[in-house]
């Protein structure tokens, strides 16, 4: 199970900023994703965390081949997906599916649930013969915990959590190998979040799925992920296993993020280090030189403005971190509540 199913190499996605109506002049680039590399192994969940605007959703869109990367590659089993077209692209679309953030807008309001979940079969008719599709849709509804009798209902007749289950069923229909989840639970109630995450966990065990799980909520990511990547302003600042990131974070940004996670136990709350970051995220049009986090970092020195810290294993640490002064620091005093 150590085969890499997706390899991302130095992925860059810049959006031009233009001025003028008829004669458009490019006056800059939004550097949404700026040199990201990671691997996704079969059956693994990679969590991607970061605050709003750090390029998480752009990463998802490039992974889904909805946007062409400016530079770099996304390799699916060794094939560069942005170079695929025609039949090869169609086959790829079967293997990588997307679960979107907002279940209220990701389902066409004028299609029945049967049509929504059945649509992948119509787009890829080779996946299932016509006569069996209806039955497959019902199996999928049952699998995600919805009543198969509701096949003729419309999305507005369901709650948010149920709609997200419909979205998951749609993504599962073609039996993909990878599902990219773009903040799949952030639009849901906390109680519903847990249900949907447990469903995702169950489906992974059953089908051997790989997830790229994007979220801005660290505790949500921890619950599901085998490995976690922390993003800041288009770059990955720290990558590691769940324990490495949550118990032994070395990058200051990760430490600051973790210190913001609420601790449910009032007796332990006082033990927690609180790191307050000042200032806002700099504009991705003109990010700071060197380390992008230096403008808000309490450890920043001269070298941070001159040298871009590489994402590599540093002294005194067991996982890659993009900080010149990477240092272990325990933020949350206890392990995740058992």
């Amino acid at each position: 199970m150590t085969e890499n199913i997706i390899e991302v190499r130095d992925l860059v996605k810049h959006y031009p900023v233009t001025r003028g109506v008829v004669f458009k002049k490019t006056i800059g680039h939004v550097k949404a994703v700026d040199g990201v590399s990671f691997d996704l192994k079969a059956g693994e969940t990679l969590g991607v965390v970061g605050e709003s605007g750090c390029g998480k959703s752009t990463l998802a869109r490039v992974l889904m081949n909805l946007e062409k990367p400016t530079a770099g590659q996304v390799l699916y089993k060794g094939q560069d997906i942005s170079k695929l077209s025609g039949g090869a692209l169609r086959r790829l679309r079967r293997q990588i599916q997307l679960v979107m953030q907002d279940p209220y807008t990701s389902l066409n309001p004028r299609m029945t649930v049967g049509d929504l979940i059945g649509e992948p079969f119509e787009i890829h008719p080779e996946a299932a013969p016509r006569g069996s599709r209806r039955g497959k849709v019902k199996e999928l509804l049952d699998l995600v915990g919805l009543n198969p009798e509701h096949i003729n209902r419309y999305p507005h007749q369901f709650s948010g959590g149920q709609r997200q289950r419909i979205g998951i069923a749609r993504a599962l229909a073609l039996r993909p190998e990878v599902i990219v989840c773009d903040e799949p639970v952030s639009a849901l109630d906390v109680s519903i979040q847990a249900q949907v995450m447990n469903l995702l966990e169950k489906l992974q065990a059953e089908f051997g799925l790989s997830y790229v799980f994007i979220a801005h909520d660290l505790s949500v990511v921890r619950h599901l992920s085998d490995r976690v990547a922390v993003m800041y302003l288009g770059k990955m600042v720290e990558v590691g296993t769940e324990d490495e990131i949550y118990e032994r974070p070395t990058h200051p940004y990760t430490q600051a993020l973790l210190s913001a996670v609420p601790v449910p136990d009032p007796t332990l709350r006082d033990n927690k280090a609180i790191i307050r970051l000042t200032g806002d995220v700099p504009s991705p049009v003109s990010p700071p030189s060197g380390c992008r986090f230096r403008t808000r970092c309490w450890k920043a020195q001269e070298v941070c403005a001159q040298e871009v810290p590489l994402l590599q294993i540093r002294r005194g640490s067991d996982h890659p971190s993009a900080c010149h002064f990477a240092e272990r620091r325990e933020i949350v005093p206890t392990h995740e509540a058992a």
Binding site: T105, S106, N108, E119, G135, E139, L140, R170, R175, E206
Partner: protein, 328 residues
């Protein structure tokens, strides 16, 4: 980890093992007859029809529209009167049991004229509405969905037509092809009127459709469809069109009414339909000189026109509601 394909509940095979046609057993084979019937697949159009069938408003407006269409097709079934020739001795005789709607200035039977007038009015209004919706809608979808230079080009072309004032534009078109001295047949004139109405109004529909498409095309469900590998045609037909149609339907039904009026305006100016062709518009414009002394001359054709317009508006409203699952 074991091979997921053997342990799974869902029987869709992974992509590397394509299903052979006919290999899947019917899943609901064991279900009793009644349960199968209950779970018949339903679609938006099927559901809309189910919903429409229960609406009295739909049946009333549809009945009126059918009546007017039959009137346009076979007017002689409804009346044996003469719509063209009159007897001046009966000029402006009031309605009576022998002539239900009375006689006009030329002594022609108003009832017969109203029935025969349906053809020109309905044909002109319906055909120009359909043409306008088709041309404007198609242009709007192309401009909105493709964007970029295609959008810029189509929008500028639309702006040119938009800039022509309606009356001036149709006077130019119709005096060129249908001026005094020309001897065009009834259907040629109708075709010219339809053409000038369509040419001068399609930009409105295009703008409506374009803005609708622009608002819808960035929706998550369109992105989801693209991520699944749906073709452009499929996205437009299945996702874009059903969600952009509502404003078009509403505008279209209003257009039917305004086109009947526009046809009357052109006839009044002497460049549209000409006697001996009858239309409600011609009757109304003739009647307005005698509105004080013989109001019934105006009343009957106007009543037919209002009923026809109202029927189309109500039908459009009922269809729009039926096509929106949230309103059912």
């Amino acid at each position: 980890m074991s091979d997921p394909s053997t342990a799974s509940i869902v029987s869709t095979p992974p992509a590397h093992m394509p299903t052979e046609a006919g290999s899947g057993a019917p899943v609901d084979a064991g279900l009793p007859e009644s349960a199968q019937k209950e779970q018949k697949p339903r679609s938006l159009l099927g559901d809309a029809w189910q919903d429409l069938r229960r609406k009295p408003l739909f049946w009333i407006s549809a009945a009126f529209i059918v009546l007017f269409v039959v009137m346009a097709a076979v007017p002689f079934v409804f009346t044996s009167g003469d719509a063209v020739n009159g007897d001046l001795a009966r000029s402006r005789v009031e309605p009576s049991s022998s002539a239900w709607f009375g006689y006009d200035v030329q002594g022609r039977d108003v009832f017969a004229r109203t029935i025969y007038g349906a053809r020109a009015s309905i044909v002109v209004a319906l055909l120009s509405t359909i043409l306008t919706l088709l041309i404007g809608g198609a242009m709007g979808i192309i401009a909105g969905y493709r964007g970029g230079w295609v959008d810029a080009l189509l929008s500028r072309i639309a702006d040119i037509f938009f800039g022509l004032p309606f009356v001036l534009g149709s006077i130019v078109i119709l005096t060129t092809f249908n001026g005094s001295g020309t001897d065009n047949g009834e259907w040629t004139i109708m075709g010219l009127v339809i053409l000038s109405l369509t040419v001068l109004t399609w930009p409105v529909v295009m703008r409506l459709m374009r803005s609708s498409v622009l608002a819808t095309k960035e929706a998550d469900y369109i992105i989801a469809a693209r991520a699944m590998g749906a073709s452009t045609g499929r996205i437009i037909l299945k996702h874009l069109l059903p969600n952009c149609l509502a404003p078009l339907l509403v505008y279209g039904t209003i257009m039917v009414g305004s086109f009947i009026g526009a046809e009357a305006t052109l006839s009044f100016l002497g460049i549209g339909l000409k006697t001996p062709v009858v239309s409600w518009g011609i009757m109304i414009s003739e009647a307005q000189n005698y509105i004080r002394v013989s109001p019934f001359l105006l009343f009957f054709p106007a009543a037919f026109l209002v009923t026809a317009v109202l029927s189309f508006v109500m039908l459009g409203e009922a269809v729009r509601e039926a096509l929106d699952p949230k309103l059912r």
